[in-house]
Every structure is written in structure tokens, then in C-alpha cells.
Symmetry: C2
Subunit: 454 residues, 2 copies
Amino acid sequence: MTNVLIPPTAETTVPPAVKSTTPHRVVIVGGGFGGLYAAQALGRSPVEVTLIDRRNFHLFQPLLYQVATGGLSPGDIASPLRAVLKRQKNTKVLLGDVVDVDTERQEVHLKRGQTVPYDSLIVATGGAHHYFGNDHWEEFAPSIKTIEDALEVRRRIFLAFEAAEKETDPEKRAALMTFVVVGGGPTGVELAGALADLAYSTLKRDFRNIDTHETKIMLVEGMDRILPPFPPELSAHAAASLEKAGVEIRTQTMVTSIERDRAVLKTGDQEDVILTKTILWAAGVKASGMGKILADKTGAQCDRGGRVIVEPDLSIPNHPNIFVVGDLAHYAHQDDGRPLPGVAPVAMQEGKYVAQLIQARIADKALPKFQYKDSGSLAVIGRNAAVVNLNWVKFTGFPAWVIWLIVHIFYLIEFDNKLVVMTQWMWGYFTRNQGSRLITGHDVDRVEEVYTQH
Amino acid sequence: MTNVLIPPTAETTVPPAVKSTTPHRVVIVGGGFGGLYAAQALGRSPVEVTLIDRRNFHLFQPLLYQVATGGLSPGDIASPLRAVLKRQKNTKVLLGDVVDVDTERQEVHLKRGQTVPYDSLIVATGGAHHYFGNDHWEEFAPSIKTIEDALEVRRRIFLAFEAAEKETDPEKRAALMTFVVVGGGPTGVELAGALADLAYSTLKRDFRNIDTHETKIMLVEGMDRILPPFPPELSAHAAASLEKAGVEIRTQTMVTSIERDRAVLKTGDQEDVILTKTILWAAGVKASGMGKILADKTGAQCDRGGRVIVEPDLSIPNHPNIFVVGDLAHYAHQDDGRPLPGVAPVAMQEGKYVAQLIQARIADKALPKFQYKDSGSLAVIGRNAAVVNLNWVKFTGFPAWVIWLIVHIFYLIEFDNKLVVMTQWMWGYFTRNQGSRLITGHDVDRVEEVYTQH
């Protein structure tokens, strides 16, 4: 990115506030991977850290699809932020919703009027799902970004099977047992794989009137192959594994319409109407609303997805003490200029880098610009199968699945969770059982209505 | 109970349908301890079992207070009914809400019009909470009967601490850190003990502005001692342990008023206004609505709590093929004529007995009337302490806690849950940590409003 992108503003540049007598105040907005890793990297610095989040926990999003498909409980993949940071005496956690930033007075504003002053600000509020202008699709095709989303999707999946068990009309029963996953990226692939496991093995003996082997699972991708960011041979391997598991893959296919009981898919000139009660959206991510607030207040540019285009040190142009990290940041890759992908390792490395930069500034040192170290990517396809690209070597099948498992358990923040999740998983692995497939929530009845209306 | 209680009805007695050519159809309403144990005891009988529940899981209610206080996840104490019963080929599970019973045609009616015919009917729909005519208290003093209740209470407890951390007014902060538990039975004692653990050990390093040792926990009981069903020396021991843990106990005390920000307690002639934002109700249980439906349709009598007064074989007078078990049944104890308590062992034994009775009838055999075998009672007071009364021997302190733990883990239905819960617990025991204290739900913001309105 070049400076032409930066419009002239009346605002004066706020210099980084270093070497004051009171400790340097770092405010971090968002306790996801970016924000939490920044906070942890500042744990032993002579700074005052305030981490603000709307929720009281850090969520390990890469495993959220497991909550949605009944393999894990919310508590297994979330850790209370206070517990994670309790040993960091320089760090406060604040439950709050940031609604504005005052760059002049250097403070953030919370929903109920509270203000929090900062010397350095790190914004890491991540992304939300994106329906590409079809927001009305969300009602019938939910996506999975929060615990509540995952539990809602879980309700829908299991209520669909429950309704199918009661349904006597074969056509309606087939529609109830048809699941469409939109988006062939890692989330869509993992979701489709988990659905196949669920339908074809976990639930196979649970019902008396339906045969869960008749479940139809479709994975829809607009590009010419699933897992587009992976090397083509891994995409091919993943597609073969999914198809062997029973998933029907439609590439070069767009969704043109979503309604309560159907999805319309378009491949080339051909349109197919799929009768289904359960459509899951794994197709698009856009930046959270903080992107717009920052752009308004600092004159920063956003890309089409609403992500803030940042400087090579992850700061906002002309605001060297305001940083954006993680899914909310548009950072051009050092080699090809394309934005870094919205994945956990990018957010973690960006969070750590900004923490180091703030520490360097306080110590009056310089730091080279941020460089993303890409150590590879992973996607799991189901029980025993995954694809792993470590750049220098690729894995598929069971070895890839083991690597995937180790990496994910390693990065689960708190050890007590790791132990429990590992036990749960190993047990689930041997018994093919999933204990967490509860249908919960005050609105069960409302959702059930949807599945029983004809 | 004598026959004078039974009003004359026009209805003819339906004889037990035995020795037909088609299998005897047993319909069980409710998948709690009573219903599930009945279903399991019928697993190898030549009968057709249909288990109907509004929820798709069996809930291990004795540990629900642990979900409310963040020690366990919902998935740890709930097992999908289909999974528990999947090996029983003669058993169907139906997700549905029973709204009526037609005793003439021998069928139950579900909410959306479906009917299910029965030859024998077992009703085990349990109880709901009971505010003794003060239903408006429920909004400010929730009780814990369902997973959703437990998560709501969890939200309130943790949001109270979060709000206290932000509060600057000392009086308001003290109110936020005051918890009142109404009811000194096992549930109230366990809840108060868990709150003390939470405030005085688990959370002690989590906050920066508040000292969680200043948390005030009050346990209110109308009788002259807590745990009234236990022997007096165990009550005294439990009271001493709770007080040592930091809980203030008020016996012979009634709640006379509950509002958004206060509870009024009356001890003798003295009234105390307790400023608090978090009141938890563990005082009363009444029968579920099925009691009234059964009484209307069969002429059966209900007691003051709405429980159906049953015959010595747990059937409804004049309806030998309709049985009521568990918390919905009023069964007079063989020795003193008082109703059996609403606890899990009673429900389990009743469920099993009815299953055996149905089997005996099919085989043209007689069965003596139901006899409750009381093997004792347990209540846990917190980490390391419990009271156990096995009738022939009593335990307190750590040995009692170990017995409590073993009994509870033994009765958790599914083994995968047992393994996970045991790991979680042992880990929590050594680390004094609780990973499940997430504030979740779509209405978090609404609840937060309550805690931040002054």
C-alpha cells in the first residue's frame, strides 16, 4: 500500500507516548487470538494493560464446528479471559462493548458511558459472517462465529433428525435429511466432514424409523476446487476423502437463492433446486463494525471486506499508536502484496509483534516491520483424515489427522481444557460416541416449529 | 391411603392388556430418573417401549448446581436419550410434548397433533419450582431445574462479579457481591457451598478492583436447622462446615419479599432488608402440569404440591395400567405414611418396580407392592466436605466427600461422561480452577442491563 491511499486529515498525528512517569497504558479491544496474544506478550512489561471484550471468555474458534456438531461442549473450547490472565498483575480485564474511539483524547468509549484512556490502542475485534448482500439468507442459513451460533446450528441439525424420525412423507423426510454446507474453505470442509461422521457413524443406531445412512450432505464451492488456499493435490485428496465419507461436492457452483425449505444452486447455466431444511453458511467473513469506526475517526482506508488497511508495522496511517491485528486488519503480504488470510496464526503473530513494538518504543529501540511466518495450514476431513501443508512437506490421511490433533490441542489456551478435550476426543474416537449433542436454549420450541411446519 | 379418597367415576376400569398377539405397548412420558430407569428395566422384555420427552437428553439433576456455578458444562451432566437407549432394539425415543391423555382410547396426545397408543402408561414428568404463590419472585430469584435455568443463574453470578469490578460506589458494590440462597435443603446447601468455593478460592486472583473475599453468601432456611431430612448431628456438622467456609446461615427465617435489588428476611419479629442483586431459589418443588391432566382424566387425587396420590403398586386408582413414578407421584411410605421424598433414588426404584410389574403381569405373575429401600442420603458442602447418612453409619468431612463423589460418578448414566467428569473434577480439585464459567446466551445484554441499572 502506498501513501496515496491516505487522505489528508485535519487531525495532527499523535506521537507515541513513551517515557512518561506513569506506566504506558495499553488498551486492547477484543480477546480473540490477536488480542489475547498481544496481552500475554505484554505480561512482563512495565505497562498497564486493559483487555476489553464483550464476552468474558476467549473462544478457540477453530473447534467451534465441533460444538455445532455435538462433539464438544462450549466449555471445552472457551476459557474465561480472567482465568487465562490472572497471573499477569499488570493486566485488567473489562467486560464491555466498545462503541467509539476518541483519537484526540486517546480514549475508547464503552456502551454504557464508561471511557478508558490509552497511550497505545490495539484493536482486534475480528470478523463477522458475510452474506454478500443477501443478509436475509442468515435466518435460513446460519453461520458459526459464536458459541450461540454453534448451539443454534446444533439445535437445527439434531432437530432435523428428530423431525425426520417422526415424518411419514418420504419427500419431506428426505428434505429433513438433506444438509447443504455453503463454502468449501476449511470451515465448510470440516463441517461437512463432521456431519458425515455424525450421520453415517455416530447416529447410525439412534433412530428406529429412519436410516441415517440416507442422509445427504452437500458441500458447495464457487471456485473450481475445495480448499482453494491449499496446493491442488491436497484439495484433490480432501475431495476424494470427503466423497468416500459420503459428502457430495459441487464446485464451480453458486448459491442463487435460499429459502426456508430450499436452496437454489447454479453450476454454469444449470440451476438445481435442493429441498432442504438445514443450510449452513461457511462462505464469507467480513470485518467487525470497529473497522468503520476506526476509518471514520482516523481517515484510514478499508478494503472491500471492511478490513482496515494497515502500515507495515500494523499501525493505522498517521496514528502510530493505534494498531489493528487479526481478522480486522488488511496487511499486504511481503511477497505478493495480497492480504494475509484471516486465520489464527496470522492473528497470533500480529498480536505478538505489536506487543514487541510497543515494548521496543518504550525502550527507545527500533523494530523491523512485521513479517508473517507461514508455517503451513491444516484442515480436518473427519475421523482419521486431514490435509496438512507445512510448505516443505505435505501430509494426508491419518498422519495428517494426528498432526492436526496435536496442533489444535497444543494451542488450546488452558491446560485443564486440553486435558479434558483430549480425554473427550480419545474417548469419542474409540467409541464413536458424542455426548454433547444436546438440544438446548429457550427457543427450542421456536426452532422446532420451523422443522415441523410443512 | 384408603378408597374413600377415590371419587366414583362413570369411567370403567381398563383392565391391563396382557397376552395379546401384538407386543404390549409401554409408553413412558419423561426421561428423568424414573422414566429412564423404567425404560432400561424393560430393555429385554417382549414389549414395545416408547419414551417421550420434551428434551432430547437425560439430565443428571443432582449436579446441575455445578453447571450454575461454572464447575461443569451442560454436556458433562446430560446424555442424549437416544444414545443411552440405542442398544435397546425394543425402545423408541420420541421428542415431543405430551398435552393430553385419552384413557378411553388409551393414547397420549402430543402438542402438534400426534397420538401415541399405549397398553401401559408410565408418567414420570417430575416437578417444577414452586414459589408458594409468589410467582413474581421468579424473575429476581431464579431456581435451577433445567440446563437453561442453570446457565441463566451462571450468567447472573458471573455478571454480578463483573459489574462489581466496574462499580465505584462501595454500597452498590457490596450489593453486587451479596448472594442470597433461599432454602436450606440439599440443593441450597450445595449451591451455597459452591458459591463459597467460587468466591473465596476459584476467583480470588481474577479481579483487580474487588477482593472476592468480601463476597457475602447467605443461606436462608425456614426450619430450625439446615438439611431438615438429615439427622440433627449431620445438620449441625454441615452448618459448621458452611460457616467455616464463609457462608452466613439464617435458620427459622422466612423470605417475605423479593425485589430487583433486595430481599426481606423475617426471623421471629425482626425484619432485615438485604441489599443484593443475586437471589437464588432452592426452596420449593411442585409437580409438573401432567399431574392436573391425569387428575382430570382419571379422577385421581393430588396432594397440595400437585403430586398424584398413587396405589401401593404405583398405579392410579381404577386405572391399573397407568402408573406415576418419581417426583410426580405421592407414594405413602410403608412405615410412617408420609410421602416418599422427591429424590433420585426414589424415582429410580419406582421406575424399576413398574417395569417389573408390567413384566410380571405379562407373565401372569403377582408382584408384592412397592417398597422403598432407603440406602441413605448425601449432601456436599464444598471442596472436601460432605455429609453422608447411610442409616447404619454416618460420615462427615473428607470421607463423606469421597463417598459423595463415587456415588455421583457411579450414577452418571454414560461412561464417556463419567470419564470426562472425573477428569474435569480431579483437575479442578488440584488446580482449584473452573473452566466452564462462561457467560453465554442471546440475552446476555439484557441480563447485563439488570446488573448495571442503579
